[in-house]
Amino acid sequence: MDFFCAVVAKFAKSTVVVIKCVCVCQGKMSQRAERRGIHVDQSELLCKKGCGYYGNAAWQGLCSKCWREEYQRARQKQIQEDWALAEKLQREEEEAAYASSQGGQSQPSAASQVPPPLAPFSKFEEKKTNEKTRKVTTVKKFFSPSSRTAPKKEPHEGKAPSPSISRQSSLETDRVSRDFVDFLKNLQKPGREIHKQCRAFIEGMSNKKDLSADELSECVQDFYQNMSDRLMAHFKGSSERVERVMDQVEQYIMTRLYKNVFCPETTDDEKKDLATQNRIRALHWVTIQMLCVPLDEEIPEVSDSVVKAITDVIEMDSRRVPRDKLACITSCSKHIFNAIRVTKSEPASADDFLPALIYIVLKANPPRLQSNIQYITRFCNPSRLMTGEDGYYFTNLCCAVAFIEKLDAQSLNLSAEDFERYMSGQGSPSGAGMEADQMWAGSGPAAASPAVAQAQRQLEALTALTQRQEQVLSGVCELQAELQQWELSVMRQVKGILDRYPLELRPPPPDSAPITAPAPTIDSANTDDDRLPPPLTPQLFAK
């Protein structure tokens, strides 16, 4: 049973099943603990079934034979329960999908919901649908050999990938599916039709794994065309609405197909990715000046835009839908335009933009660049790629990649020897127009690349700041010491004065003069009365 639980826990995607198993396990353990007594009666050792053989605490007090029977029964029951649960979950999910595709009331997160009222035709629809979530499939797959009821046909059962991966990707897939269904709801009847077609198409595609990338692309493009033709007829030529629906269709089917058609094994996309990546790495020494890029990265806004552009072009790889990838490229381009505009204070033309884009690609070295370009080319809705703004920036990116692949000494205005030396890593350029050798002798590493130079400048600024801070600190210390000294000196002075004139309290004049009297007496000593003896007293204390 323990083994069984472990296996179920490992494979079952349904938490309910797991929890149930854990409960069963805990029950067993507590029973076991109760039976571990010190005083054991002879009767307790015998099989609880009363078959006359000895029992075993580990078998709940049963003998081996009775335990096996009991265990088999419990196991069978468990299997049936799990099986029923799996079926229930699946039914719920399909119903939710179906109900919402019908344009009916919304059923968010179908699995966690109470089952909706059964539609009479749901059973029939079930068989047609291909959209079984993988978690149910996996549970079923595990149980189907041992269950008596014949499992339903699973068209793509063998394709279910390892559970952990599918769980991650299914999150996004589910979200997109929900959005798609929500969107189609507004379209009523045609929306249902669209949903059905998309699902049929995805199912069809999953059977075509052996096709080459170009053939797959052909399939998807044909689908786009058919869909768009039908929509065109339906919306009576309102291309705006057609485009909106097509965007959703693209998002839905490409999110689902992504795994199988992005960088497929039948192509050498991956090899090209690596080649491009290495190529860009080898070109790390290319500077802004060589490419004649009108960017001044010393301006904070420019360097900020450059960083954003780099982030966007790297981000492209993480998107699944061709349209989203294109949006990343467009956003990257916008940042580049902004950077050029700030630098030159006039709008950028293509003569400025292309070199800047090349520079950004070199700096970013975006992951799987070739695969992404191929993927967009193959599976993007053509109307977008052809003429629009996105298409323009995408074309520029293709140009940039082509340029980087072909790049030679001439295209950077370098001599062939210099180019060779830089490429082989034996030297690195020290900046515009400078010989590489000079760099090592003269200007130091600061000139090697703008980034290093910038880092150094910032370091210098930091050092200056530290110095000033130290100055301030030492000033503060001085001030503090001065203050303390001043305080001390004041105290000393006060004390001195107090010491000097304590007598004023002691010899009160016999004529009961006020305490302050002696002072005026001293001050006015010469003027008032010169026959008095007081002049002697200060002499005595001055000693």
Partner: protein, 203 residues
């Protein structure tokens, strides 16, 4: 601007500093500005709706990098273009030699693309006739030979600029009726679509 539907792709070809960007700027914003100006973020791509009869054709105008170092890439740019405006500077004969190069490229690779030869900076010629380095009749002969339209424009005064783009839009409108009423044929789109990556493979 992003959401704007574009009917036809028009590429601007020409050597650096012949005034491709100024030409687009004049056409789209009706202005010619010298020195710094900040209102537009970039003039590399613009979509401009144009009235042709009672229809509206939106031209997507693609600026291209004219520098020689990007020459090999230029064919990636003009894939699927319905019109190419090949610009040359009337005061610079070398720019016309480069224009000839692009015309040849277009004829070889993009047979469905209409070619418009566009001499720029007529205002400089008007100020000083000796500045002209490209003869009008030579270009006209060349244009007849290749079946292209020929315009001489000034982005500074606006001379002939609107006429040029109007012609482009009209030609697109009439040719799209020839190909297929309404939408452009999908097969064509597909062909065009594939081309960027085919072009990448060529290198």
């Amino acid at each position: 601007m992003t959401a704007m539907r574009v009917d036809a792709k028009v590429v601007m070809l020409g050597k650096e500093s012949v005034g491709k960007t100024s030409l687009v700027e004049r056409y789209v914003h009706h202005r010619f500005l010298v020195g710094p100006y900040q209102n537009t973020i970039g003039a590399a791509f613009v979509a401009k709706p144009t009235h042709v009869g009672d229809k509206v054709i939106t031209l997507g105008i693609w600026d291209t990098a004219g520098s020689e170092r990007y020459e090999a890439m230029s064919r990636i740019y003009y894939r699927g273009a319905r019109a190419a405006i090949v610009c040359y500077d009337l005061t610079d004969s070398s720019s016309f030699q480069r224009a000839r190069f692009w015309v040849k490229e277009l004829q070889n690779c993009e047979e469905h693309c209409k070619i418009y030869l566009c001499g720029t900076k007529t205002d400089l010629i008007e100020a000083d006739r000796a500045a002209r380095q490209v003869d009008y009749h030579d270009v006209q002969d060349f244009a007849d030979e290749i079946g292209a339209q020929h315009f001489e424009t000034s982005s500074k005064t606006g001379n002939n600029v609107d006429e040029l783009f109007q012609k482009v839009a009209e030609d697109y409108n009439s040719s799209s009726f020839e190909v297929m009423p309404g939408e452009m044929s999908f097969i064509q789109k597909m062909k065009n679509l594939r081309l960027p990556h085919v072009a990448l493979r060529l290198h």
